[in-house]
């Protein structure tokens, strides 16, 4: 081995200094996974000094490391003499380093990208591998925040803002789906449409805010009486629709009677006014007659108008 001249000794020093201080985790392992080098980044985040873990087996120091997974990658790297890369998307981290930033850190741990690089000896054979661990927490957390925001937007698009029920478009899609399901598989399915009686009079007398409160109260009452599989939507201003899958006329009437009586019994209080109101309900069990979901909707609507004509605050079944 050639002796080092003073200049190369000094350059060795500053190169070692760079490796120590670079903000990337650098670990050198021999082929038995014994730690040969552990730079400053690794020391700071793991709390273990290089001297303490030198020559120890990585898996024994950190039992949480997925042993089979890492071994497989290292084997491929050694056999092929090429680098391997893994991203935080496939595995969030190799070593669990906890969040170190009390103010700007929003994630529990550091997300990491990992590169495994072969290191050859003088003979050209791979003798060691280098793990390079990159902190990608900022990228991961902004990407996850974006995904969450998109999910939320998609959800908001389906919901009626005032009532929290499904909006008309989403609800009609479900109605269409229920109609198709019935055509294929049969069974019982009932559609309920209802409307708040004399809603315009409530608005005129107590104001629009009171009207909104009445609509909100109606939605809350329906929600209380429905089962998990039922879908309620706000169809128009004061008109609502409920899809009751796997429900015959009798079952639908039981639910509707409960809603009807709950609404007529509970007044809504707005600005010390007690507003008592009623609803008219149309029920349409699905038969073979309607050719599409719109025709089914039309049947429920007709039943609802019959309920209005018969004096309101009642239920009429389409026949």
């Amino acid at each position: 081995m050639p002796s080092l001249n003073p200049e190369s000794v000094s350059s060795f020093h500053w190169m070692a200094d760079m490796v120590e201080s670079v903000e990337v985790g650098l670990v050198v392992l021999d082929l038995k996974f014994r730690v040969q080098m552990w730079n400053g980044f690794m020391e700071h985040h793991s709390g273990m000094t290089a001297s303490k873990i030198h020559n120890q087996v990585l898996f024994e120091l950190f039992p949480d490391i997925p042993r089979a997974w890492l071994s497989r990658k290292v084997e491929a790297v050694t056999l092929l003499n090429t680098r391997a890369f893994t991203s935080w998307e496939q595995r969030p981290y190799l070593l669990r380093f906890r969040n170190t930033r009390p103010i700007t850190g929003t994630e529990e741990f550091m997300y990491q990208n990992l590169t495994i690089s072969p290191l050859c000896g003088p003979s050209g054979k791979v003798e060691k591998v280098c793990l390079m661990i990159y902190d990608v927490t900022d990228i991961a957390s902004s990407k996850r925040a974006l995904e969450r925001a998109n999910d939320q937007l998609a959800k908001l698009n389906m919901i009626d803002k005032l009532t929290g029920l499904l909006n008309r478009g989403t609800w009609e899609n479900l109605l269409d789906a229920e109609f198709s399901r019935h055509q294929r598989y049969g069974g019982n399915s009932t559609l309920v449409m209802f409307d708040i009686d004399h809603f315009k009079a409530i608005n005129d007398r107590f104001g629009h805010l009171a009207g909104d409160e009445v609509i909100r109260h109606t939605a809350a009452t329906i929600r209380r009486h429905l089962r998990h599989s039922d879908s309620a939507g706000r169809y128009g201003g004061e008109e609502f629709g409920i899809i009751l899958p796997e429900t015959d006329t009798e079952g639908a009437l039981t639910i509707c009677e409960r809603i009807l009586s709950a609404i007529s019994r509970e007044p809504v209080t707005v600005d010390s006014h007690n507003i008592t109101y009623t609803i008219s309900i149309g029920v349409a069990p699905l038969t073979d007659r309607p050719k599409n979901y719109m025709a089914w909707l039309e049947q429920a609507d007709q039943a609802m108008y019959s309920a209005k004509q018969a004096g309101r605050n009642q239920i009429v079944t389409f026949s």
């Binding site: 089979a68 997974w69 497989r72 990658k73 491929a76 056999l79 092929l80 090429t82 680098r83 391997a84 890369f85 893994t86 991203s87 998307e89 496939q90 595995r91 990208n113 590169t115 990159y134």
Partner: protein, 194 residues
Amino acid sequence: MLNDYLREIANVAMGRSSDLLARLLGIFVRQPIPKVAFIASSELHMTIAAADDEAHYSAACQGFTGAGVAGEAMLLFADSSFREMAEMLHYDNLDGPAVNIEVLMDMSSILFGAFLKGIGDQMDLRLGLSHPTVLGQHRQIAELLDHHHNHEQQLLCIEITYTIENHNIQCDMLVLFTEDSLPFLQQRLQYLAE
């Protein structure tokens, strides 16, 4: 002229990478013939769309740079091939989206690494590789590449289709060199030819 030399070099590099793949997986990999062509970057998505055939693909990309030469490699993997590939790579867990990313990352590490090393060795340059990125999953190719077709530059493209015999596995590798790399490539290849 440039194309012929490059095809020759690609052939050698590819021989090497499919040999590695075969060794790692213990299987036979059919030697494909690399296609070398100039394409406008706006044509990029058409080139790939031609290979689409209504199938769903996932893709990983990795940038490379070396003295005067730069570009990006892309691996297109048919979604239907993931499970079998995961089996061949001896994963413990064979299902779920994380496995697909794992397959893409592993395959691109192996194929890009070996191929680009082969190219670099022959042209006597050392290519640095950036960290690969997985592009959107389970999306049509045209959609995947939509954002690529705004930039107008001439790209030199090497296309290689790998098929694994007796398995339902097929993947496409594209290596694209930037326009700026061309004078350097030309010079290097000419030198080799003399």
